[in-house]
């Protein structure tokens, strides 16, 4: 920062002290109140940073439906046999013990944005000065003909935190010899762009060891995907002939899925599977819809603060937001949470508000010790979060480099979960 911009910061901070601290005072409560809905990558990080950095000056309540958060990140590694299921589960105990966050395990049912109150499943209401919503995604079950809530036991999506990924792993382990695993990835935009292709890699890894004559067919509603060249080269190298990826132009569109007959019908052909992972289209978690801060399926935000365009008292983080050019990832949600936390603290306590900076890196595991990554850093543009610089792994990297990339991802997993839950 040069001297000029430092002065600009100071005067801005002073302005925000006098003007913006008022709403908190006007509520009449001793401390300004922040309510965070959803204790995932975005929400747990936001709750922890607001509580930690305000050193008790802000009253933080985290509303999270589950007692234990199972990360979607690394759930593919569980699927592939690289992690124990228990190792991807995290509790909220430290957020209350170490930072005084008031953790309430319940569903947020509705938001009354004019009264600034959130209603919970128990019937209780919690009032807020600022509300942070990081509810992740809901699955659009009706986006694929024949798919439904009931279909998910037969054709699990395993795209939300929880035990569906265990069902999927059991199905893959028990697949008939020489059988077919079918994957239907979701259309854009969706949570974790490289996720479906890492999942295919992990299934291939199991099948290569246990069921080498089995086949994988990917019926994609897209014509291209994240890290495509890297994944396809990896599949050829580690699992030659096993994975067939069929793009939308080739199969002409997914017409129907049938969980009884395990068939996926397209214009071109009907694919019969022994095990199928079907991931439908997605949208922002219901509470964002209810709060009236969505436009279509997602919640538009102001890049500089993560405030919603619809309501400046409500911030939306992570998958539920329209944060393009950032991908919907846990890393992105964690990064956005810190920008929001800094802004909220500034508004409620008059602390300095610094310019938004975001970053993301997504690692994927293609096979044992073969890790790849893609990343970028971002700044707040007027309308969009804009990428500043990017990198992506190269196809010709040697084994040592790929192993190091995988090891880095283990460091990151431990790092981000500490950053969310310690």
């Amino acid at each position: 920062m040069n001297n000029l911009s430092r002065r600009a910061f100071v005067s801005f901070a002073l302005a925000s002290t006098s003007l913006l601290a008022m709403p908190a005072i006007s509520t009449g409560s001793a401390r300004p109140k922040v309510v965070v809905v959803g204790g995932g990558a975005g929400g747990a990080t936001a709750a922890r940073y607001i509580a930690k950095d305000s050193k008790g000056a802000i009253d933080v309540t985290l509303i999270e439906a589950s007692k234990q958060y199972y990360t979607c990140f690394y759930s593919n590694l569980y699927l592939g046999g690289f992690r124990e299921y228990d190792s991807i589960g995290h509790s909220y105990d430290n957020l209350s013990a170490n930072h005084g966050v008031n953790v309430v395990h319940d569903w947020a049912i509705s938001v009354d944005s004019s009264a600034r109150k959130v209603r919970l499943g128990s019937g209780a209401t919690v009032s807020y000065d600022r509300l942070v919503l990081s509810p992740g995604i809901d699955i659009k079950y009706d986006s694929i003909n024949g798919y439904s809530v009931e279909a998910q036991t037969k054709m699990p999506h395993a795209w939300k935190s929880g035990t569906q990924v265990k069902v999927l792993r059991d199905q893959v382990l028990n697949m008939p010899k020489g059988g077919t695993f079918a994957m239907v990835p979701p259309p854009n935009p969706y949570r974790c762009p490289p996720g479906p292709y890492e999942r295919i890699s992990m299934v291939a890894h199991i099948l290569k060891e246990r069921n080498p004559t089995a086949k994988i067919v990917v019926v994609d509603p897209k014509n291209k995907f994240s890290k495509q060249g890297l994944f396809m080269a990896g599949w050829e190298k580690h699992y030659p002939g096993m994975v067939e990826w069929i793009d939308n132009d080739t199969h002409g569109g997914i017409k129907n899925v049938n969980p009884e007959t395990m068939e996926i019908e397209t214009d071109l052909d009907t694919f019969k599977a022994d095990v199928a992972c079907v991931v439908p289209a997605q949208r922002a978690g219901a509470i964002a819809m209810n709060a009236g801060v969505t436009d279509g399926d997602w919640s538009p935000i102001i890049p500089a603060s993560m405030q919603t365009k619809a309501d400046s008292n409500i911030y939306v983080l992570g998958d539920a937001s329209v944060a393009s050019s950032m991908p919907k990832s846990g890393f992105s949600a964690n990064s956005q949470a810190k920008v929001a936390a800094n802004h909220i603290r500034g508004e409620l306590t008059g602390s300095k508000v610094f310019a938004a900076k975001f970053s993301n890196t997504c690692w994927s595991l293609v096979a044992t010790n073969d890790g790849i990554k893609v990343g970028a850093n971002y700044k707040a543009g007027e309308e969009k979060i804009e990428a500043v610089e990017k990198f992506v792994s190269k196809t010709d990297e040697d084994n040592a480099k790929r192993k190091k990339t995988y090891e880095e991802s283990i460091g990151w997993y431990n790092g981000i979960t500490t950053d969310m839950f310690s």
Binding site: K338, E389, K390, G411, N414, G415
Partner: protein, 92 residues
């Protein structure tokens, strides 16, 4: 801030601002924690000058690693100094 421990005279750390370092560290803490050490070095409590010098090496692409080159490329001298004194203040 007294966290400089007498290093204020060091030109590499001159523009340091502790609060700004705390804010900027958010970007790093996704990866760098004491718990990340298996694959990503823990830098909590490291000497400020050590951290600043490493960041400059990544910025100048004299040290390999895509993520760190990317991270450091976006940092100016004062930001590097701010991060260095902030991480120095954290517990190992």
């Amino acid at each position: 801030m007294l966290v400089f421990r007498g290093l204020v005279a060091e030109p590499l750390l001159e523009g340091a601002d502790f609060d700004y370092g705390e804010y900027l560290s958010g970007q790093c803490l996704t990866c760098h924690q004491n718990s990340s050490d298996e694959g990503i070095p823990a830098i909590n409590g490291a000497e400020a000058l050590y951290i600043a010098k490493k960041l400059i090496l990544y910025k100048n692409k004299e040290l390999e690693n895509e993520v760190m080159q990317l991270v450091a490329s976006a940092l100016d001298k004062d930001e590097i100094a701010s991060l260095a004194i902030y991480f120095n203040s954290l517990e190992k």
